[in-house]
């Protein structure tokens, strides 16, 4: 590895790393206290609920971490909106586009041996965008249905009664989907994907190396190098 390859660059700000920790803890606790409620007649669910002191106590813990998750989600929404309004150029790296669909297909073709080169990714690849937008979708759906289930009397003053059992179905199945997606997709991206085994620490340390950026996000790397070269040239001209 070259000396330049070992150069450390900042990938995630401290606030983003704190957001990830809050999301990680709240999501884990919501799964741990929520899924046993869905399968409350199973022996394993009783064992987990017993750790919290019983079903009632597990529900209280569930509601606490739901508040943490909703607060985190609202903070994230405010930050994103503010950045889109105030920061130039607009930070749109996480927005999905046609290019991501093309990258996905190209990636599958590469893995099947139908292409000789991997697709070249920008700051976030299509796999990371799938996960980010899944979390956005899941958080919105789970928050709305969770609040309806938590305040059924109040909710049915404004909404049709059938939305209560409908919320129960959506909340319950969406939880299973989220849990399975995290266990498969997130563990794969963050722990087992090529170049990150045993895990990608950048979301905790905030740092990555130029070598890793060049390997995993070549377009971002090239933009960074071009920007750096332009700055140096500007400095030399002066």
């Amino acid at each position: 590895m070259s000396k330049q390859g070992n150069t450390v660059v900042l990938r995630f700000a401290a606030s983003q790393r704190i957001e990830h920790i809050l999301l990680m803890v709240s999501f884990s606790m919501l799964c741990l206290t929520g899924l046993p409620q869905r399968y409350s007649s199973a022996g394993w669910a009783h064992a987990i609920l017993g750790v919290f002191g019983g079903l009632q106590q597990a529900r209280t813990v569930h509601h606490f971490f739901a508040v943490v998750l909703i607060a985190e989600a609202l903070y994230h929404a405010v930050v994103v909106v503010c950045e889109l309004i105030l920061v130039r150029p607009r930070p749109t790296a996480m927005l999905p586009g046609v290019r991501d669909a093309r990258d996905g297909l190209a990636s599958v073709a590469f893995l099947l041996g139908l292409r000789t080169e991997k697709p070249r990714y920008d700051r976030y690849d299509f796999r990371q965008k799938v996960e980010y937008w899944s979390v956005i979708w899941g958080t919105v759906v789970m928050s709305i249905t969770g609040l309806i289930l938590l305040f059924p009397v109040y909710a049915t003053r404004f909404l049709p009664g059938v939305l209560l059992p409908a919320s129960k179905i959506v909340h319950s199945y969406e939880a299973v989907l989220a849990f399975l997606a995290i266990v498969t997709w997130h563990l794969y991206i963050a722990h087992f994907a090529e170049g990150v085994l045993p895990f990608d620490s950048s979301i905790f340390t905030g740092k990555t190396t130029l070598e890793r950026m060049k390997e995993q996000h070549p377009l971002e790397y090239e933009q960074l190098v071009a920007k750096s070269t332009a700055t140096e040239a500007g400095g030399a001209d002066r």
């Binding site: 007649s41 009783h46 987990i48 019983g54 059924p152 059992p165 722990h191 085994l197 045993p198 895990f199």
Partner: protein
């Protein structure tokens, strides 16, 4: 065996506790391995015993003696769907001793008695032969257990029968003795009376609340087309989404194995 965490070294179970690698990586490894272990343990947990209550002990108290001791309850029962069938000679219909033990025991005032009520009703209402014979829905008990009320009551009945719980049991909505078919105007769960049953616990509930039908959670096509479609979407969608993710991961693993076997990186 290969060591996933430190390529080139042999796998060792004490690796997590060793000083190799940085702390963050060790914590991550520990979390992932713990998660896998938790899922494996959960899958191996034994199932719980059947949830239906056993028959109460035979009582020497006759129907006449019950009527003398509890005239109001007896009159309500005699006019109910159960009492009418029983007094007409259907001995399978629940009489006093079908639900109660000996009244002298005062068991109706105990906490376990309340938690046991749905399981007692389930003795007949979950019995396929009984429900078929009387033209009743065969999922009454099961659909109750799927509700917030039913799941909570069943949990505490199994784990802590002495717990004082206030979630609705059958008799809270359907009455304890004056039980009538929901289509009967005298029934406490007849459409005109249902909200009154709900507000006993859910103060401030409006008419829409009573239409949630949360006493019994049914998702079949006839009972609720919307719930049926929602459940169907998830039952099809979840395997498709997770299957696609697993397929991609499998392709990646196979590609990496092929690349290593080929002795180089194809990218």
């Amino acid at each position: 065996m290969a060591n996933l965490h430190h390529p080139g070294k042999r796998w060792a179970p004490v690796m997590h506790l060793s000083k190799e690698g940085n702390d963050l990586k060790r914590v991550a490894c520990l979390c992932v391995c713990s998660l896998v272990l938790l899922i494996a343990l959960a899958a191996c947990a034994p199932p719980l015993p059947a949830a239906v209550a056993s028959a109460p002990p035979t009582s020497a108290v006759t129907a006449e003696q019950w009527a003398e001791r509890y005239p109001m309850e007896y009159a309500q029962w005699a006019a109910s769907v159960h009492g009418v069938a029983y007094l007409a000679g259907d001995m399978a219909a629940p009489g006093c001793t079908g639900c109660h033990g000996d009244p002298a025991g005062g068991e109706t005032r105990t906490v376990p008695f309340r938690l046991n009520i749905p399981a007692k009703c389930g003795r007949c209402h979950a019995d396929q032969q009984v429900t078929a014979k009387h033209g009743l829905p065969n999922d009454t008990y099961e659909s109750y257990l799927k509700t917030f009320h039913g799941a909570t009551v069943a949990y505490y009945r199994a784990t802590d029968p002495a717990a004082e719980r206030y979630e609705a049991v059958c008799s809270d909505c359907h009455a304890a003795h004056a039980i009538h078919a929901p289509s009967d105007a005298r029934s406490s769960v007849a459409p005109a009376n249902l909200l009154r049953a709900c507000v006993k616990c859910h103060q401030g509930a409006g008419p829409a609340f009573a239409t949630t039908a949360d006493g019994h959670f049914r998702t079949d096509r006839m009972a609720s087309p919307l719930l049926y479609v929602l459940e169907l979407v998830y039952r099809i969608g979840i395997p498709l989404i997770i299957g696609a993710m697993l397929l991609y991961i499998l392709l990646d693993i196979l590609h990496r194995v092929r690349s290593r076997a080929g002795g180089g990186n194809q990218s």
